[in-house]
């Protein structure tokens, strides 16, 4: 390629017809000159011109060769091919429509899943320099406890270590926002004053916190979200400086975050923060000198210094933790093996959905591949009809490459049309599809059809076009001219084409079987999870939540002591029991809501994970004890149907002045007091100054923590002996679920009008929501698998129909010679079954590999679950038989006379 080439290319592009005329004129002038010479030799003018033309040879052929020699000629050919292709599409509109629809389905579905993957996994977090953002995660592998949170002194050490620009704990909490007509519960994130500087995000209105503020207590300023600003303050532009009352304390609003700003949390609740408050985490209401071993920040985020890789920072951090462990050996017993890990912040947000999303993308990719194979099959069928056309064009001098190119252009056109249709459908269904995405799927970036997505759709279309166009195109280039032309009206090259088509159907079957097995395994896991023995009964149970305020100044706290809180709780239970239809009432904290996964961080710090020491055990080893903890009233167990095995539940005599008691589950008793009677044993929280807690009862195991695990050690404390602020009211009975929230609100607010009532849900909904992510991938993979099965069925149907029409003559002869119709049916079915069995065999091998890769997504079954494999294989054979039966019946009805006369 050189300048001359580009110049002539440009000339060619802009003056295409000019060059065409040039060529015409040049050749004409040649012939005229030659004729002049011949005339001079003595021929008549007419004879001379005739001779000149003859000597010149095939003008059209040379013109074509000239055109090809001219730069930029491919544009002409392309335009020609496209025009011709479009004409062919119009001629066989049925096949074309099916091909385009199939591709639209494949490309549309793939693009849809890709847009989710792109927004969650591929795009960086929507904060400036996201690669510098890390999450700080502390583990105690010696205790088997991960993500245990960090303490205030640890945060200070990290902040001053010089490894980071900023470090900020993030403490998710709820708060009662009062002042408007109805007290509301807001999602609050308590952060260090440097939080917004760390994320490098500016408020749309006002300012963020001063990153260098190190005053004690909670800074009386808040930044609010765009959503809260619009919802609760009517988007008031004079909002700055106004005060809000949260948990009876006054805060000044200093900033409003822009719309679309989400906090980097793991659940929808934790991302959708409404109010940010800041603190340096010492001084009232917190201790003036927070102890090192009270890790009450569930997590911390940090921004690395520019240009420092995570691995480098991790090394520095390892050195820091080693020296801290030496310096404060009392707080870091060596057997706990305290470690602090840096994780890309994005990993914390999306880490737990990566596998399911990759699975979905792979599944939908397989569907696209199957769609390609299907269309290739369709085109091959059409190619057999077009064999004669190709043969004639070859005979007239078209180069084989030229025909291949024509066919490839046609397939590319088809897949581009399919792609456009797919993306168009996606656009139309966008809102509907977005609603299908589970709420907890982290996507800080908006899922949208962006340029990236369109580019992906384009690439997918082109790649699939080439993929499914390749087989027919190559076939055309290998056309046997003699053979093809000799076969009068019959299709040409049928033998080889039939072999290719059979190969394609086998591929299709194998691919869809892999998908079907994956779907089958997910479905069985899901089914098993649904039918697991819960150990509690979620039917007719409603949960309504409320929250007692926790003011910063203890003097304002109406519920500071149990003496103040207990009457409220007892009165609330009494009033709720009187509500129409309500049979039983119990109250617990947030951790007591079975299978609730919306507030993971909240559970880590104040409820949930509980580190304790057992009385009389070696102080060294008793650090290795951790259990789930919740606080409940004694009615909780009967209400949920958790049976008492030994000892007693809580009773009226348990109060602040009597020893603290606990009920534990069997898993806890078996784990910590194996071969012993757990009743009467005592344990206490590992933190200083905590009271001994006596085991008074053992209840049956219930899967309240995780559907997949039955044996999570669980401690239930008496709600009347603890000072829980976040309350869940459990109601069992037959009542109108829609009205119950208001009825409970009236009761709660008749006791204290400043309390918010929220989070109403049935326990069935909670249980079902805990499966939402599994359900999402299970449903989508099943949908894809069904599509694949349908496509494979259509594929085998097409091939067998073709075989039948090809063999009509032979079948006619067989019938004429006395073959029975059932013989014919058997012959045809055997052919289809053969394809299906080979395809299934190949597919089973592929499925074995794939199922190993998805082992961690399964529950209760092994990746090689024989029932699933056998079931899917049988289903496939069934579908294949059915798909073959329809054309086979046609074969049975062949009239020997007609078939024979056809020749």
């Amino acid at each position: 390629m050189n300048l001359a080439y580009f110049r002539s290319l440009a000339a060619r592009f802009f003056h295409r017809s000019l060059t065409e005329n040039d060529l015409e004129e040049e050749l004409r002038s040649h012939i005229q000159l030659r004729a002049n010479d011949l005339e001079r030799v003595g021929l008549t003018r007419a004879e001379a011109e005739r001779r000149a033309r003859m000597e010149f040879g095939g003008q059209e052929r040379f013109k074509e060769e000239c055109r090809e020699a001219i730069a930029g000629n491919f544009i002409d050919i392309l335009v020609q091919d496209v025009r011709f292709g479009l004409r062919m599409f119009r001629k066989s509109s049925g096949v074309t429509a099916i091909a385009i629809l199939t591709m639209a389905l494949g490309i549309g579905a793939t693009t849809a899943i890709f847009s989710v993957v792109e927004a969650t996994l591929l795009r960086p977090l929507p904060y400036p320099q996201p690669e510098q953002l890390v999450s700080i995660q502390a583990d105690l592998p010696g205790l088997g406890a991960n993500d245990v949170g960090i303490s205030q002194p640890e945060w200070q050490d990290l902040q001053e270590s010089g490894i980071f620009q900023y470090v900020s704990p993030t403490w998710f909490d709820e708060n009662n926002l009062t002042g408007s007509s109805q007290p509301a519960r807001v999602r609050l994130l308590l952060v260090a004053p440097n939080y917004f500087a760390l994320l490098a995000v500016q408020p749309q209105l006002g300012r963020a916190f001063d990153p260098h503020d190190h005053s004690p207590g909670i800074i009386p300023e808040v930044v609010i979200s765009d959503g809260l600003w619009k919802r609760s303050f009517g988007a008031d532009s004079n909002i700055l400086g106004k005060s809000v009352r949260m948990d009876t304390d006054l805060y000044r609003i200093v900033g409003v975050m822009p719309a679309g700003f989400d906090a980097p949390g793991r659940t929808a609740e934790e991302r959708n923060i409404e109010i940010w408050a800041a603190s340096s985490f010492y001084g009232t209401p917190m201790p003036d000198h927070p102890p090192r071993n009270r890790r009450y920040f569930p997590t911390a985020i940090a921004r690395l210094k520019p240009g420092v890789a995570i691995a480098v920072a991790q090394k520095q951090l390892d050195a820091l933790t080693a020296s801290l462990q030496k310096q404060f050996s009392g707080d870091y017993p060596p057997q706990n093996a305290w470690t602090v890990r840096l994780l890309p912040l994005k990993e914390r947000v999306v880490g737990n959905v990566r596998q399911s999303l990759v699975l979905l993308l792979a599944a939908v990719g397989l569907v696209l591949l199957i769609a390609c194979v299907n269309v290739a099959n369709l085109l091959l069928a059409r190619a057999s009809v077009r064999g004669r056309e190709m043969a004639i064009r070859r005979a007239l001098g078209a180069a084989p490459g030229r025909l291949t190119r024509q066919l490839l252009t046609e397939s590319l056109l088809l897949s581009l049309f399919g792609g456009v249709a797919g993306v168009a459908i996606l656009f139309l269904l966008k809102d509907f599809l977005l609603r299908l995405i589970p709420e907890n799927l982290p996507h800080l970036n908006e899922i949208s059809i962006s340029w990236n997505i369109l580019l992906f759709a384009l690439v997918a279309s082109v790649v699939s076009g080439v993929l499914f166009g390749l087989a027919p195109a190559l076939q055309a280039s290998r056309l046997d001219l003699n053979h093809a032309l000799k076969q009068e009206g019959r299709s040409a090259g049928s033998r080889e084409r039939a072999r290719t088509r059979r190969g394609l159907v086998i591929t299709e079957f194998a691919l869809s079987l892999v998908l079907m097995v994956a779907a089958g395994l997910l479905l069985r896991s899901f089914w098993d999870l649904l039918n697991v023995q819960l150990g509690f009964s979620p039917q007719n149970v409603m949960i309504v939540r409320t929250r007692l305020p926790a003011p910063n100044d203890p003097n304002n706290d109406k519920y500071a002591t149990d003496v103040q809180e207990t009457p409220f709780l007892r009165e609330l239970v009494r009033k709720c029991t009187l509500l129409p239809g309500v049979q039983e009432v119990a109250i617990g904290d947030t951790a007591s809501i079975p299978l609730d996964q919306t507030l993971r961080d909240l559970k880590v710090i104040s409820e949930g994970q509980f580190f304790f020491s057992i009385e009389g055990r070696n102080v060294q080893s008793d650090h290795s004890t951790v259990a789930e903890r919740s606080s409940v009233t004694s009615d909780y167990f009967h209400l949920l149907g958790i049976t008492l095995r030994r000892g007693r539940l809580f009773n009226e005599s348990d109060n602040d002045n009597t020893p603290q008691v606990a009920v534990i589950n069997r898993a806890m008793a078996d784990t910590y007091w194996p071969n012993e009677n757990a009743l009467g044993k005592r344990f206490k929280a590992t933190r200083d100054g905590s009271r001994w807690i006596t085991v008074v009862g053992v209840v049956a195991n219930a899967r309240t923590e995780s559907l997949a695990r039955a044996d999570v050690p669980q401690i239930y404390l008496d709600l009347y002996q603890t000072a829980e602020r976040r309350l869940s009211v459990f109601l069992r009975g037959r009542f109108r679920t829609a009205a119950i929230a208001d009825e409970v609100r009236q009761q709660v607010q008749s006791l204290d009008p400043a309390l918010p009532v929220y989070g109403t849900q049935t326990l069935n909904e909670t249980v079902s929501a805990s499966l939402s992510q599994r359900r999402f991938s299970m449903e989508l993979v099943s949908l894809f698998a069904l599509t694949a099965l349908l496509l494979a069925g259509l594929g085998i149907y097409g091939v067998i129909s073709y075989v039948v029409s090809e063999r009509a003559h032979e079948i006619g002869i067989r019938l004429a010679l006395g073959a029975s119709r059932s013989n014919i049916l058997r012959i045809i079915l055997r052919q289809g079954l053969g394809l299906a069995i080979v395809g299934a065999g190949v597919g089973l091998i592929g499925a074995l590999i794939v199922s190993q890769l998805m082992a961690s997504l399964l529950y209760g079954i092994r990746p090689t679950d024989p029932l699933t494999f056998a079931g899917v294989a049988l289903l496939f054979i069934g579908v294949a038989l059915f798909a073959c039966y329809v054309p086979a019946r046609r074969a049975m009805k062949v009239d020997p006379m007609v078939a024979l006369r056809c020749e």
Binding site: N2, L3, A4, Y5, S8, D22, L23, E25, E26, L27, S29, H30, Q32, L33, R34, N36, E55, F56, G57, G58, Q59, R61, F62, E65, C66, E68, A69, I70, A71
Partner: protein, 113 residues
């Protein structure tokens, strides 16, 4: 007749370059010139000349412009570019080396081995 030689593949381009190097020519003129300088020993299919000419123009070895022929017809004239001249020199050298090598190979007699 009988003294006509088949054109070796690839030699048409070389012959065209040579013919045009002797002075600008239109297509038919190239044909006549080749016949003339080869002593009418080389026969060229007339139509095949044009794809070759177009190819040489694209490679930047020839340039073409419209002009008037001897008898005042409009015709497209080809002339050598400097790049074409260089290519002609190289190809001529290459050809001569080839011919010499083949001639010497063909002239070999048993006693020389």
């Amino acid at each position: 007749m009988g003294n006509e030689a088949e054109l070796l593949p690839g030699t048409l381009d070389l012959l065209i370059l040579k013919a045009v190097s002797l002075g600008p020519l239109h297509g038919y003129g190239v044909l006549l010139r080749i016949e003339q300088i080869s002593g009418r020993a080389l026969l060229i299919e007339q139509g095949a000349l044009y794809p070759a000419l177009f190819r040489l123009v694209r490679q930047g070895l020839l340039k073409a412009s419209w002009g008037k022929s001897d008898n005042n017809r409009r015709a497209k004239f080809y002339e050598l570019t400097s790049k074409g001249r260089k290519r002609l020199r190289e190809e001529t050298d290459g050809w001569n080396r080839l011919v010499a090598a083949i001639a010497s190979a063909l002239a070999a007699r048993p006693q020389e081995i």
